[in-house]
């Protein structure tokens, strides 16, 4: 939405995002990997632990269904 004046009358110009000039977005091309802060490190460790736990549970269930483990 842009305000503009013509013959002493003020207009507002509205353009659909798809019809507008593309704007320069935040540059992400050359940033590389995220800096490993304490929060990032703890979060990724928690995620790894969660995924290992889930995989262990699934593996146990598959072995149980295959009759290798009795439960």
């Amino acid at each position: 939405m842009t305000a503009t004046t013509e013959y002493d009358r003020k207009f507002y110009i509205v353009v659909h995002p798809l019809d507008d000039e593309p704007e320069a977005k935040v540059e992400t091309e050359n940033l590389g990997p995220m800096r490993i802060t304490t929060t990032v490190r703890v979060s990724l460790y928690a995620l790894r632990a969660y995924l290992l736990l889930m995989s262990g549970m699934l593996g146990y269930r598959v072995l149980q269904l295959a009759g290798i483990i009795r439960g």
Binding site: R9, Y12, V14, P17, D20, V26, A46, M54, R61
Partner: protein
Amino acid sequence: MVANNRTTLDDCRTAVRPEPIRVSSPWAARALTFLMVFGPGLIVMEADNDAGAVSTYVQAGAQYGTHLLWLLLLLLPITYFVQEMVVRLGIATGQGHAAMIYRRFGKWWGRFSLADLLLVNFLTLVTEFAAIALALAKLGVDPRLGVPVSAIGLTALVLTGSYRRWERIVVFLCLLDLAWFAIAFRVHPAMGDVARHTLLPSLPIGGLNASWLFLVIAIVGTTIAPWQLFFQQSCVADKRLRFSDLTSARLDTLIGAVFTILVAGCMMLAGNAAFERHWNFADPALMAVQLGAVFGPILKNGLLLLMINAAVLGTTTISLASAWAYGEVRGWPHSLQKPVREAPGFYAVYAACVITAAGLVLIPGAPLQLIILSVQVLAGLMLPSAIIFLQLLLNDKEVLGERFANRRWNNLVNWSIVILLFVLSLLLAAQVALPKLFPNS
């Protein structure tokens, strides 16, 4: 390999662009801008009321009447806060979620997220077509004819080379869900109970039990799904929303969240009609037939058509989430604005998802129950990881700066949501994988 899907200045110079609209009032300008931005938020929220959600909400109503309505009210801010983060990230970077995970967390996490997303999305698509087949059969249409026709229609929907055309059709399909309000009104719920159980959380009669707890978790899992994060960010990027569109995009998301939660409440009220009559049913299509015997064929046919609409909405959005994510990561052109000849890989992924899932449903004796269980387990794996990456990306000031990054209060709310979803996803997946851990479930 991650590619930039941004439109270049050359693209814009060669394209024929319509005249901008002039209005004299600032209010009219704001309203018009909002209407132009409106779409992704409503679509992502309402498409989440897909076939699986219809089944879960109706089952919740049929088992516990109006007693779980409070949960929907609680989920309203949670679902809004999660999707609002995606809007900010999409507008700031103009990139999809899969591309951002690849760039900032490396190939391993990027591949893991993409593979998990594609798998869980595909299995969910199978359940959408299973619901279409079930509802068509109850409407007297042979699924062997109806399912392929639906798959062809859903593929044709995206092949027009126009984002706007796709969005208008899908917004129209979302608005068809207003019919759920008519159904909820027709089954005459006790409005006093509805108001009381919406505002005051209550435990089931007889106290807490495992099946109630897992239904609660299933409702949370249904309302906040991993594909939504990928879908909305890619959708915002494809629509090329600008920095100045952030407020309108937030309002779009809020309206979508409110509408979706209200529709979900109506679904529970439809189930409540079965609860009041002590009916048991195996699926919502069967419940529609039972309710039709009491309230007439219009209600039965309306419910079955709404089930099909829910599955159609789910199918187009979930398939697009996969196609956008795969296109971003492979570096292919990936935009609904591009004709098929300019983005063949993107459209091929979409068509492959739709047609293969439809084909699988038509195989006699396909293991649909196993597929539904797998969806629950994989969604349990997917949601915490997707949401952790989202939360970390929103704190990435190197990318987002102060303007778009999370504030302190955002982090407080969002980390609480992340921890809650971690615990609930773990419990749900554990219940599916190790049912003996939880007696009476």
